[in-house]
Symmetry: C2
Subunit: 875 residues, 2 copies
């Protein structure tokens, strides 16, 4: 089996085995561009390495050494040849770009003899020993795991002794001494000399790069970007070229278009007489690429031409690395450039306008989840770079927020009334915090995962949120937040949150308003032209509904009626209902709630102007609605005119061991049919009301948590009897539909039964995922970290549908359900509905719509379009 | 469609539509036995009644009236004919016997004119008006729902006025007056006269019987006996015959064999000059059937002959009701008699010995769950001898019971919830007491014979019962029992009952364990000969393992290793393990636990003498093991030498929102691999240890809560590395197996994946049921009552496998699992493994074994045998 390819043997379509970097180096070689020679050890070699117990077998070693020989012949240099040494870089290169996550070793091939002979020959000992000492430090770090700081300390000490400010001020002799000291440190650490055989250096380095595929940051990055660990990384071995060999040398990075704005202009920066790492490390300030035209006009022209040809060749904006060695230009890398959402849109639309790609190709060039960026405020980027990250949590809900911190929802709401921008800081949020979450600019929680209450509600609101930030601790009573470094932030101090990275900054950072350029609309219209899936939104009130419509939602797929009760005025009636001791008391309380609920529905129906609205009946366990603090309980007891002790007892009797699997959903309607009756009355009376204003609405009544046909029949009977009676008396003709959530495994398995009485299904994939896996999202955060670290799970099944398990249940439900009722209407309203691969899955299994939070609607529209395009391509 | 059948039109195989009572009345009519004429309204008519909104449609009414006409012709009597009236009884009769659960109306056809004319003609006005007033009271109660007490009060008042002790002392004139008063009460209540048209009486009564199918006690009874509500009840309309027409009349109940012991002797009791309800109600104490030989020798002989022929015809012990009217014998009912477990065994074995049935037929005659009775404890004989007998009653249902006395069913049920053993003491029981009878350890009644309600129901339940204990008196209000010697026992005092002798002891008596011998052993051996399924037991310690083996278990299907830690000495080390702050602390704590666990396994393996043992690794959430009270926490903090506050914080950090779906099962091993390592060490070292004593054991290591193949692979790797290392070092050859629970829906769905690394599956149907339905056992109690009441659920899915939903997952897992690994070994270890229909299901889907609690092993052996027989029959 072939495990090693020279650049001449590959091309851009071989990313799977050569990695992205390798495939593009091969492609550029094929195009005749000035690429230093080299070869690629394949991803398959990496996987073999892991399968064989972290060993590179003899056959692969031999293939590598053969390619070294080829390279020696091509370059006329010799590996370990003191007179004319072949020096190489060893770099990782996975199928997908994972910038900076894995390891790199440069200047490989140097040893004591080579360094001495070579430096004499080229007359530049400072350059050679600078390269050698860098190699030793990198090798010790990457291959042997020795901390870099030990080497850096030597440099620092020397500069202090000599009172120097900059490495560049060090002399050739300094570099020679430093090299000696580095070798000594290496020896003390390893109890053996620094390896002198370049072949040993090479094989050890390749192994180290393979290992770095599974270092912690690579694993985290893969999880964040849905890259399977089974892909493995390739390793690129390439002849070194040096941008630091004098004023006729240099190095730089450039994009074919502006990655921030999308403008069609060469964009980038370079340094004269420097190595690539100097540009990245920010030791010296690089110059904008435009000035290269003056510094080296010929080089600039040929680079510009290469850039243009690469963009045309790849039909996308390119991100390139180049080095100029002694007046000769080399291209070290090209890849599709990362870009901001607005740049992505502009580039995609421009490329269509320039006639280079089709609309469908353009649609595939923008990552749906990137569109989120366009819908939120953001930090001024320069200010952000200067700010210190004081903690890191989960990037739970994108956007940026800056404000004074408060530790209770009430304090936030009060501060908002005073006109302050605020951040709500909580151990974890609960439904009672909803007003505060609404009023805050951002939410920071210590506990809870990507799908915790805080995260879900925040995303629904489009509120920036960092959750599960366990690096901080809070003392709620003292209203104080403490970082792991012991920094203290008190109530009223400023913090800034980046919901797209999970970073927390300990200061105020300036913000910019979201910019939605005209390209956005053009682009979304293209998406709407090709998609099959309808997009609805989850919205519980008029404001969210209007927001969703603005973002292109074609209906409401989930209105959570319980959210309508978390208002101070209403919660009291609702609590009275919960604490009722008999159905008369309960009905009285419900009759207080009815007018509110009806009015909410009227507003919702009006906002949607006749577009479909799915109304889910009361779902959460009642205990969630009850007060928890002493004061609140006392206040409630007083207003209910019952003794505190009685109330406490009643509250505690409603507590459940596993509330997620408790008395909730349709189970509430079975126990208290009067709830379903009241909710039906509110829905139908609202529909009648708006029909008088010529808004024709067919409410879709959705019964949650159904697991058994008879359960649905019981509740449906109550709904239909109530509804039909009201409709008959009103004299208005109203059509309504009754359907169910599919969120209990049993309902999916018996969907043919359930479909007898359900006109539609909506997959509640949050609960379905919890029950299919048998873990609750509130608790799973604690142990799932270990699952990711140990590569048992590669992605969060609450963020992305588990197609193998949960997806199998969905497929069963779709096919069985349609067997009973061929026109069964099918949707999904779980968190997954806004995630790209999940939307593609929903498209593939034939759902009619997905329903996501308003701020995810544009992403879902694009994801649905991409799913359609890919489905057609694969036909 | 035919909804009404005359007795001549049916036979015993038509139970589904005629009900048990109706089918047997038809069969007896066909056999030419003296059965009063009549007809049956079918169960289909009952279901139609419910489907059509509780109405009997015209077509069915017409069919009923046609059959009345036929009956008039056959009997020569006329419905409503004053000179020669046709009087009928209207009785329920479901497919399965539901004694006393539904309603009955007697003497229907009487009205003012009929009563007057008829009583004149037969010259017995007392008899006629006694019948009429009974009819009015029954009709008011059953059809109109008016409380019987109102009528009874009239009787009581009159007897007090006239200073009479007994109803029989009332004169004809008294009866006439009582009838008038009853009619007035009826009028006052209903605001209309008592209906005089017999046809109206009949249709209303049939409707009432249909309604009684859904009264509360019928619903409870059905649930307890797995009778679907969809069956409905038939209604039997039959010509009345009277056992109370003088000393030449009588009525009785008899069994062809002794229902308590199984002895082959006519067994029963009768009353001269009485109606059937007098025997059952226990108002007068009946005479044993043997004395009928002297009272009415001819009648006795012909009854004995009928009894024998019925037993031969049905090939089973019969329970018959008869009435003698004016010297003529009528058979009113026959059915397979309820019997105690030991009677059931003896009868089954005897019938085989008598050559009447085959062994396989015998196996089908005993209800597996009845065998539980034989495993009940008995008194320690020496202690029994020393105890004083304070009263003697009828040995109504065998067994021994010792507990605190309570005087209402409700008090018993409450005491049971507190964990008390109880004795229910009642004047006589009524169908409303059914829950209390179920919850009590024993039942003691003052009134009622061997066939009274208490006796029949207690035998059915296998509950120990002493009935008709007239030597004691009770004051129900004061909750006090008094013996004839004047001894007083108050609520909460201890009594002991011997249901085999009828003796009541005034104290607590120690109990002994049961044994399998005699007919039981013979019978169980027959069962073992035919069953395919192996039977294992769930046992966590040597004692349970030995018990299980005694009951015939062929291995241990589930050893819950966490149960080994709930010992005071061990729990401390275990808590230290849980609260460890790093893996070193954890390993130290585990090394304290290791020797205990190893010793436990040694004892278990020794007890099982080489039979298979499945060891499940640590399963429950860790929080369950931590102390909860202030004092316990303080004590633990002291022994751990950490501040109380720190401990509290750690405990609270382990709390979970939904612990059932939390950090438990294999998830613990993923987070803390050292736990799996310690448990493997204990298992393997124990196996090595016993192998030196020549006990060859192949431990089956079972990983709980697996939902994903990689999870299993991760834990299995730890297990195998640890085990193989120990085995290698020991030099002993030990074979072990690694498998998994299937209790997470995802594992069932992806069983083909899981089977790649699992050598066996054991279905954990408790958790699988919780997750498939999405409700937790701990919480479901609160709302499932409503589900039963509203007939959404007909059985408890935790007691009986939900074949439609959970069963579907099991089938998927079996077929997918065997696809990957054809020799995959399959078992079940949930609670369901001891329940008959679930065992049959496990047999049908091809499991290799079921594993239940030790006391359920005999029932499972029989259930497995029955499943095999039925499977072969249906081939």
């Amino acid at each position: 089996m072939k495990f090693v390819y020279s650049f001449e043997e590959g091309n851009k379509d071989m990313k799977e085995i050569l990695g992205g970097k390798g495939a593009n180096l091969a492609e550029m070689t094929k195009l005749g561009l000035p690429v230093p020679g080299g070869f690629i050890v394949t991803t398959e070699a990496c996987n073999t390495y892991y399968q064989e117990g972290k060993k590179i077998n003899d056959s692969i070693v031999q293939q590598i050494l053969d390619k070294i020989k080829e390279l020696e012949e091509k370059t006329g240099k010799g590996f370990g040849n003191p007179a004319n040494p072949l020096l190489v870089s060893v770099r990782s290169g996975a199928r997908a770009s994972m910038p900076g996550m894995m390891d790199t070793i440069l200047n490989l091939g140097l040893n004591d003899i080579v360094a001495q002979t070579f430096s004499n020959r080229i007359g530049n000992p400072r350059f050679v020993y600078d390269s050698y000492r860098r190699f030793i430090a990198m090798f010790a770090d990457v291959v042997k795991g020795y901390p870099r700081s030990a080497f850096e300390n030597v440099l620092t000490r020397l500069k202090t002794e000599k009172n120097l400010r900059d490495d560049t001020q060090l002399t050739a002799e300094d570099m020679l001494n430093i090299t000696r000291e580095f070798k000594k440190i290496y020896y003390d650490f390893e109890k053996e000399e620094f390896p002198q055989d370049p072949k040993v250096q090479l094989i050890e380095s390749i192994k180290a790069v393979f290992r770095s595929w599974n270092n912690e940051r690579a694993i985290i990055y893969r999880r964040m970007n849905d890259i399977p660990s089974s892909w493995g990384t390739a390793v690129n071995v390439q002849q070194m070229v040096y941008g630091n060999r004098g004023m006729n040398s240099g190095t730089g990075v450039a994009f074919t278009r502006n990655p921030a704005t999308g403008e069609n202009e060469l964009y980038g920066e370079y340094l004269i007489n420097a190595q690539g790492e100097d540009v990245v490390a920010g030791v010296r300030t690089p110059k904008p690429i435009s000035t290269l035209k003056e510094d080296m006009p010929t080089i600039y022209d040929s680079f510009l031409q290469i850039a243009k040809s690469l963009e045309n060749h790849y039909q996308d904006m390119q991100d390139m690395e180049f080095t100029i060695e002694d007046g000769k230009l080399y291209i070290l890398q090209t890849r599709n450039g990362k870009r901001t959402a607005s740049a992505a849109l502009k580039i995609a639309v421009d490329l269509v306008k320039e006639g280079k790609i089709s609309k469908q190709e353009a649609l595939l060039k923008v990552e749906p989840k990137q569109l989120d960026q366009l819908l939120h405020k953001n930090f001024v980027q320069e200010n952000l770079k200067k700010s210190e990250i004081i903690a890191k949590g989960l990037a739970a809900s994108p956007g940026a927020a800056c404000g004074k911190i408060y530790f209770t929802a009430e304090d936030v709401s009060n501060a908002k009334k005073r006109g302050e921008e605020t951040i709500l800081v909580r151990l974890e949020t609960s439904p009672e915090d909803i007003q505060g979450m609404q009023d805050a600019s951002g939410i920071l929680t210590v506990r809870g995962g990507m799908t915790s209450h805080a995260a879900v509600v925040a995303r629904g609101m489009g509120r920036c949120c960092v959750s599960g930030c366990e690096e901080i601790s809070i003392q709620e009573k003292e209203k104080v937040l403490k970082t792991k470094d012991g920094k203290i932030y008190k109530e009223g101090d400023y913090l800034s949150l980046d919901g797209s990275t999970g970073f927390v900054y300990g200061e105020k950072i300036a913000m910019t308003e979201p910019e939605i350029s005209g390209d956005f609309e053009v682009f979304m219209n293209w998406a709407d032209e090709v998609r099959r899936l309808k997009i609805r939104a989850n919205a519980d009130n008029e404001r969210d509904a209007l927001q969703a419509k603005k973002f292109g939602a074609e209906g409401i797929g989930l209105c959570r009626t319980e959210h309508m009760f978390f208002n101070e005025k209403r919660i009291f009636s609702f609590r009275k209902m919960i604490l009722a001791e008999n159905s008369t008391q309960r009905e009285n309380a419900l009759s207080e709630i009815l007018p509110y609920q009806k009015e909410d529905f009227i507003n919702l129906f009006r906002a949607m102007e006749g577009s479909p609205v799915v109304i889910r009946y009361l779902d959460p366990p009642l205990h969630e609605f009850l007060p928890h603090t002493k004061e609140e309980i006392a206040a409630l007891a007083e207003s209910l005119e019952i003794p505190i002790e009685d109330l406490k007892e009643r509250i505690s009797s409603l507590k459940e061991f596993n509330p997620m699997m408790g008395h909730r959903g349709c189970r509430l309607d079975v126990t208290y049919p009067e709830i379903a009756r009241m909710q039906t009355r509110a829905v139908i009376e609202a529909a009648i009301e708006v029909s008088k204003q010529n808004i024709r609405i067919e409410p879709e009544i959705m019964i949650p948590l159904i697991g058994e046909l008879k359960e649905l029949q019981y509740v449906k009977k109550i709904v239909c009897e109530t509804a039909d009676d009201i409709i008959k008396k009103s004299g208005v003709s109203i059509v309504y539909h009754v359907g169910t959530m599919i969120e209990i495994p049993r309902a999916a398995l018996l969907a043919d039964e359930i479909a007898k009485d359900a006109e539609f299904f909506s997959f509640g994939t949050n609960d379905l995922t919890q029950l299919t896996y048998g873990f609750s999202r509130d608790d799973a955060g604690k142990f799932l970290k270990d699952y990711y670290d140990k590569q048992i799970f590669e992605f969060d099944p609450f963020a992305k549908i588990d197609q193998a398990g949960v997806g199998m249940l969905m497929k069963i439900a779709v096919s069985k359900g349609r067997l009973t009722r061929s026109d069964l209407h099918l949707g999904i309203c779980g968190e997954h509905a806004g995630e790209v691969s999940s939307v593609a899955f929903c498209d593939a299994i034939g759902l009619d719509y997905v329903s996501c939070s308003p701020f995810r609607v544009p992403a879902s529209r694009l994801a649905a379009a991409q799913a359609s395009i890919k489905a057609n391509q694969s036909k």
